[in-house]
Subunit: 364 residues, 2 copies
């Protein structure tokens, strides 16, 4: 395929044409040492004579040699690499935590290998397994995604500790094959909606995720219903519209809600991204937020804080969750291999977009 002509540049010394891909054998030959010695230099082994090391390093530099990672991974039994598999590159919710995780992994003297999986991919657990094998990972942390159909046998066979963080899997079996770090989305959503109710709202709309979106956000709908139920507010399906993780779908869902003239005074939106879109939709129609309509989101992404008015939301301790995932991973690795299932608490942030109406007292 590579039929285009490129004049190979010559090296400085004696017109020897530069090989397309310098490999360890070439470096060994050019340095006048054995292959093993080059490998030792490459891997920072201490048992190489200083002069030898320097000579080799000089040749490596001169020829721009970069070791082939595929070969290294193939040969190495275990890399000092922890994989991080993130679901969806568009989710600002996860982008923040990755850095914290990387630092925490580095503190343990390991490296992070970051891998993003498409939002539309349905085979998250397969990708995870593939990643572990390919990179010979010491451990894997998965952020988001759907692991309901995970093959626990295969995970166990891999003997590679895995931590599922904020993923769709509520594992309660007695098999001890992976750890999980989550919040309880249903409870967090229930508390948020109760906060709304506490502010005197009774007609509360909901913008949920489409049913075919298989993520933890689905449980937020459960929380919405529970809150209504516990405060004796009848559930009205007319008050519910669905979106899809984006500003635009939140915007449109709000338009549909408003079109119905439902005399709502508040809307609970299952992600901050959609909440921003929803707020814009209302304000564009001249509806004042929060004076005429309160809006509450979920996640705690930075953007919600900068929006005018700032969006009240359920803050997930993402960074702590990420760091905890790393800690658990190394615990499993270094100690008894007993996995843990952890639920973090969330925090409701009452910001500008939520306002009290009427004079009614808090029902609960």
């Amino acid at each position: 395929m590579k039929t285009f002509p490129v004049t190979l540049p010559e090296t400085e010394e004696g017109g020897e044409t530069m090989k397309q891909n310098v490999n360890i054998k070439d470096i060994a030959r050019l340095s006048g040492v054995g292959i093993s010695t080059v490998s030792r230099v490459l891997n920072d082994h201490t048992d190489v004579k200083k002069e030898t090391r320097e000579k080799v390093l000089q040749v490596i530099k001169e020829y721009n040699y970069i070791p082939n990672n595929s070969a290294r991974n193939l040969k190495r039994s275990v890399s000092k690499n922890i994989g991080v598999l993130v679901k969806g590159i568009y989710n600002p919710f996860f982008s923040k935590v990755v850095r914290a995780i990387e630092e925490e992994i580095a503190r343990h003297d390991y490296s992070m290998i970051l891998h993003y999986n498409s939002k539309d991919a349905t085979n998250d657990s397969e990708v995870a397994i593939e990643l572990i094998k390919e990179k010979k990972l010491t451990g894997l942390i998965c952020l988001g995604g759907d692991f309901e159909d995970i093959d626990t046998k295969q995970i166990a066979a891999l003997e590679t500790p895995m931590v599922l963080c904020s993923t769709m899997v509520r594992y309660s079996g007695d098999e001890n094959v992976f750890s999980s770090v989550n919040i309880d989305d249903a409870i967090a959503a229930e508390l948020a909606v109760k906060e709304i109710i506490c502010c005197g709202h009774r007609r509360i709309g909901m913008i949920r995720l489409r049913e075919d979106d298989f993520s933890v956000c689905q449980y937020r709908m459960t929380g919405y219903k529970r809150a209504l139920d516990s405060c004796d507010i009848p559930y009205d399906p007319e008050l519910v519209e669905a979106g899809d993780y984006t500003f635009e779908t939140g915007y449109k869902a709000m338009q549909r809600l408003l079109d119905k003239q439902l005399d709502m005074t508040a809307v609970f939106v299952s992600t901050d991204l959609m909440a921003v879109g929803a707020a814009r939709a209302a304000m564009e129609r001249g509806i004042k937020v929060p004076e005429e309509l309160s809006i509450v989101g979920f996640d705690g992404i930075e953007f919600a804080e900068y929006f005018m008015p700032s969006i009240s939301t359920v803050m997930q301790p993402v960074e702590e969750m990420g760091i905890m995932s790393v800690e658990i991973l190394f615990d499993v690795l270094n100690n008894d291999g007993v996995h843990r299932q952890i639920l973090f608490d969330t925090k409701f942030l009452h910001r500008e977009s939520l306002r009290r109406v009427g004079g009614e007292a808090c029902p609960k």
Copy 2:
């Protein structure tokens, strides 16, 4: 290291303990065929008897066999993979384009291998070369980053077409080693600031990126100065503050500007993210945007559109640029190997955050 006890699950047939990692040899043995045949099945070669193929596929499924990618990459001379190296995982500006690129690559019957490089990494070009070698890439597209010190000799030696999109490198040499797809940031910024001037503003603040941030955004400052200059407005360094790609630094930069009491009526901000932070800072102090202060950003990210008021900005045709990068890549690959340097036009979006002041006519 993996000292934790895991009871290896047994396979269904006859208690043979499942190997930790099933490989192609095992599959061959279990299927009663040769290794080459398994490989052929794996790679969808047509020259395998139907029954044989089915038998092999069944064994593969039963043992959850996943081929080792390191081995494949090592052996394969060319993968049908195009790499995409993205600078910074936090940049919403790039996240949008990746999907477009992926689709375009798929249309050519290739796969995309996505790789993110840390925002703080200084060795973008080295990472690029490493990626090409490791994955035996057919081509590479780089989104963002600093390639000023790129080793053109090595790139040429690799014989792998490379397209730099929105990266810091203005290559005008006669060597024909890579393509580039960019906008002219200086011109685009100049036009944006002229739009502001056309609206009657004379005291125009600027929030730029810190000087040590080595990205194309630096040129936006050049454009700001040029616009002032061409309209005979003196450049006042007091009106310039710097941020760092985030809401928060934009917010703080605006606070510093406002603290100086400079009687500005407009601010040009070199990224939309910072523009949103800046707008919030002003509005929090009771300054009405745009009635008392106009704000203009740069990039055209979605959030700028949903913010209240929506942020006027310079829209980069990111998706088109991404798609063009793919097209150029395949052109280079299939045809003459002649690289191209392309500059896209930008579009100024006059939205809610920019308002006319005074009665002065447009100076240019």
